[in-house]
């Protein structure tokens, strides 16, 4: 007992000191604490020493392994419904929603304000010779809201109120839009969504592509029969699986669509050439993530296909655009993907420079009335 206890409390700090510190936590998706900077004032105010607690906690030896063990214990042995704020259901991993009142008036007001912003953008695009379309895609937990246990909040009221208010406001402004909820809910919607990630899957993205080419009458765009589908044999761990340290077994796979007839392209990400659209894992054993699609969220990505008979497409939005881009480029001469979260340029500047024929704004339904990030145009 004595030896065991002393070994643990002595060895842990020694090993912690020996192993090189990490900068970030892959699982927690954040930067880990850096050593606190000494100052007399910080010491006297009682801030300096507690910061060492935070630093040591972040860098303690076997931290990830211990958090994995904790998560495994709670998910698989104690069989908790919610672990690390992830709801473990029979068919999917979903986020935990705290109970809160729905302010319908606020949502209505925000929806109208956002529609006004989009209308202004629409006018600008039209004045530059382009066509605008808003693409709304249900986020995974929204689409799978019926999977929540009956006693947990599934945000149904908030999502429904927001969806109705927003698309109604868009319609009032005469803005072209696609609400993928209408498509998915009338189908076997599970097949369009990842069970471990907050995004839709490639089938959902492809369905969205089909709606876009249909809505915008892109007659020269490729059809489904023009694509090959390939599913990676690798394990796919989505964002939610990562939060629970992959400790709960919920199989999920990732697939891609590639044109049967290869289309040559040149991809430039913020001035750097990238020769692929899909990240290729080193081998079958490597776990893959949503980053397979386009690799990452980039401030701007140009994909040139040198087919001037096809439209110039500008697409902007969050990571929901990524799998869509891997298909949509086939319908464009040049596709420009912009993510305003990582950008200093405004979308108006991009439109003026790029002169797109088509501008698509893609947002998920948890962000329809959000004025941050890609809502800050």
């Amino acid at each position: 007992m004595i030896i065991g206890f002393l070994l643990v409390i002595f060895l842990v700090p020694i090993i912690t000191k020996i192993i090189p510190p990490k900068d970030t936590s892959h699982f927690e998706n954040r930067a880990l604490k850096t050593p606190p900077v000494f100052s007399t004032s910080a010491l006297l105010e009682g801030k300096y020493l507690p910061e060492w607690e935070e630093y040591f906690s972040d860098h303690i030896a076997l931290r990830d392994e211990m958090i994995y063990a904790y998560t495994y214990l709670n998910a698989n042995i104690l069989k908790k419904t919610v672990v690390n704020n992830i709801v473990i259901t029979k068919n999917a991993l979903l986020p935990f929603n705290s109970l809160s009142d729905v302010n319908e008036k606020q949502i209505q007001d925000d929806a109208i304000r956002m529609a006004e912003k989009i209308s202004k953008l629409n006018d600008f695009i039209t004045s530059n010779g382009g066509v605008f379309c808003f693409i709304g895609i249900p986020e995974q937990s929204s689409m799978l809201r019926n999977e929540y246990p009956i006693f947990l909040e599934n945000a149904d009221k908030k999502l429904t109120v927001t969806e109705n208010a927003f698309f109604s406001a868009l319609s009032d402004k005469g803005i072209k839009h696609i609400n993928m909820m209408d498509t998915f809910k009338n189908d076997d919607y599970f097949k369009y969504y990842s069970v471990t990630d907050h995004h839709y899957n490639i089938h959902g993205a492809f369905k969205t592509y089909e709606r876009i080419i249909d809505e915008l009458e892109l007659d020269n765009a490729l059809q489904k029969s023009d694509f090959n589908y390939y599913e990676y044999p690798n394990n796919f761990y989505g964002s939610r699986a990562r939060i629970i340290y992959k400790a709960y077994n919920m199989p999920d796979k990732l697939g891609i669509y590639t044109p049967k007839k290869e289309i040559e392209f040149t991809r430039i990400d913020s001035g750097t050439q990238v020769n692929w659209l899909f990240y290729q894992p080193q081998n079958e054993k490597e776990d893959i993530t949503y980053n397979v699609y386009m690799g990452w969220d980039s401030a701007e990505t140009y994909v040139y296909t040198k087919r001037p008979e096809l439209p110039r497409i500008l697409i902007f939005g969050d990571s929901f655009t990524n799998p869509l881009e891997t298909i949509l480029y086939t319908a464009s001469d040049t596709m420009l993907s912009v993510d305003l979260r990582h950008n200093k340029k405004s979308i108006y500047e991009y439109i003026e420079e790029f002169k797109p024929d088509i501008v698509l704004l893609v947002r998920d339904d948890t962000c329809y009335t959000s004025f941050d990030g890609n809502g800050s145009f």
Binding site: I2, G46, E53, F56, I67, Y70, V82, L99, F151
Partner: protein, 473 residues
């Protein structure tokens, strides 16, 4: 710094063990000095500025003890005692209660007072009572004078019990400060005790605390009876396992350094009366008030009306000791009234009914008391309690979620509230098979302690929720 932290467990503790046990046992003064320095560093971590208050308290108590001891006249002894009491209570009164009195004074007279918020030094309620205990015991000749200031400082600031008790009487450790033996068996027992305390805190107290906090954060007027009870019970478990867990860790750490502190909790939730409950809960505080307030007031060797008054005074002070809020005072008075009623009427009834009913009676009354203790103000407490006894047919979604999420911990809390290990040990001692007896007495508890300690470390590393309740006392 708290015991249930990474820094304490993996930096402070190995460092103090290394420095302390590096010194041969025969150099007791040096070992005491090392322990004192680490205790001061432990306190400094949380109170870099207000450590001076604790040092002042130590100095006052030391000087008072010496003065009392060397004074020949009783009147002079009494004067120094009064001096020590006034300073100690004065310090506690100022730092803990000044803002409370200022706000209530202003509210009462409808005036506006601008006073700077007085910050409460961590552990002041514990170390002032310990210091007072020393001075009073010297005055009463119940304990020898301690001439070495290092040893007084060590007694008052010893890190295992500094910020959250138990309130260690000087005569409990007087001899051990000067002469003690750190043995392997004590060290092993201390480790086991520490592990159990740590596990209580991390696995049970913190989890129940999260439930209690969520429920108590709700609008009290909209509470349903199911949530009201769940919140009250969760808080009861939180405070019990938090405080008793901390006491276990303190006692365990004390053992590792050769100190034998008295027990502070004795499975209070199995009590069959409120009277019994207070013999089992926070024993060091109860006995402190008994010996230094109740008995000097006359105890029960006075007229019935005076006896009632004495109980009332002690319990009002006990409640007030817990915090500068009317709720704490109300909580204390609540128990005072119950104890008076039991003493004069109810105990006779309880002794003549099946134990299960007296147990239920006690649990209900104690659980209700925690609502008063936890609430922000008296009116919230009253509304909350009314919700507990307003039964409608509905079970809320939030209750279903919290109960399903934490049902295992709730069951473990119930099991951990019962003296099961004691029962197993007693049965094992009666075994005829010596090998089996030795095995059962030695290994299962230790292995179990190690297992839950390991799991607790997982919880510690994963934790984002690790408050300690008694920090504000």
């Amino acid at each position: 710094m708290v015991f249930s932290s990474v820094l304490f467990l993996f930096l402070f503790l190995p460092a103090v063990f290394f420095a302390y046990f590096l010194i041969p046992q025969k150099y007791r003064t040096l070992r005491n000095l090392v322990l004192l320095l680490f205790s001061l560093a432990f306190y400094y971590y949380g109170e870099p500025k207000l450590i001076t208050i604790m040092l002042l308290s130590i100095l006052i108590n030391y000087i008072s003890g010496v003065a009392i001891s060397y004074s020949k006249k009783k009147a002079l002894k009494k004067l120094f005692l009064i001096f020590a009491v006034v300073i100690n209570i004065g310090l506690l009164g100022y730092y803990k209660y000044f803002n409370f009195f200022a706000e209530n004074f202003a509210s009462l007279f409808g005036i506006s007072i601008n006073v700077a918020k007085v910050i409460l030094p961590i552990g002041i309620s514990f170390y002032t009572f310990q210091g007072l205990s020393y001075v009073i015991d010297v005055y009463r000749n119940n304990a020898p004078i301690q001439k070495n200031p290092i040893n007084i400082a060590l007694y008052i600031s010893l890190f295992p019990q500094l910020i959250a008790g138990p309130i260690v009487r000087y005569n409990t450790v007087a001899e051990e400060i000067n002469v003690r033996k750190e043995t392997a068996s004590d060290f092993a027992e201390g480790i086991k005790r520490f592990m159990f305390g740590f596990s209580k805190k991390m696995l049970l107290a913190n989890t129940m605390g999260a439930v209690a906090d969520e429920i108590f954060a709700l609008d009290v007027s909209s509470l349903n009876f199911d949530l009201a009870w769940l919140g009250a019970i969760s808080y009861e478990f939180q405070i019990f396992f938090d405080f008793s867990g901390y006491s276990d860790m303190a006692i365990g750490l004390g053992l590792m350094f050769g100190f034998h502190f008295l027990e502070n909790f004795n499975f209070p939730l199995i009590s069959k009366s409120v009277t019994e409950f207070w013999r089992r809960w926070h024993i060091s505080l109860g006995t402190w008030f008994r010996d230094y307030v109740y008995i000097p007031l006359g105890g029960n060797r006075v007229s019935p009306s005076r006896h009632i008054l004495n109980i009332f005074v002690v319990w009002t002070l006990t409640g007030f000791w817990h915090g500068a809020n009317w709720t704490f005072m109300a909580w204390g008075i609540y128990f005072g009234i119950l104890l008076i009623l039991e003493k004069f009427f109810i105990l006779k009834i309880l002794n003549n009914i099946p134990k299960v009913f007296s147990h239920i009676y006690t649990l209900i009354l104690v659980t209700v008391s925690w609502v008063i203790f936890r609430s922000d103000n008296i009116s919230s407490a009253l509304i909350y309690i009314s919700k507990m006894f307003t039964i409608n047919g509905n079970i809320t979604d939030r209750f279903l979620y919290l109960f399903s999420q934490h049902k295992i911990e709730l069951v473990l809390c119930i099991i951990a509230s019962i003296p099961i290990s004691r029962y197993i040990k007693e049965k094992a001692k009666m075994l005829k098979n010596e090998k089996l007896k030795t095995f059962l007495l030695l290994y299962p508890v230790g292995l179990f302690a190690a297992l839950i300690f390991a799991i607790s470390i997982l919880y510690l590393i994963n934790s984002t929720f690790n408050p300690f309740i008694y920090f504000r006392f």
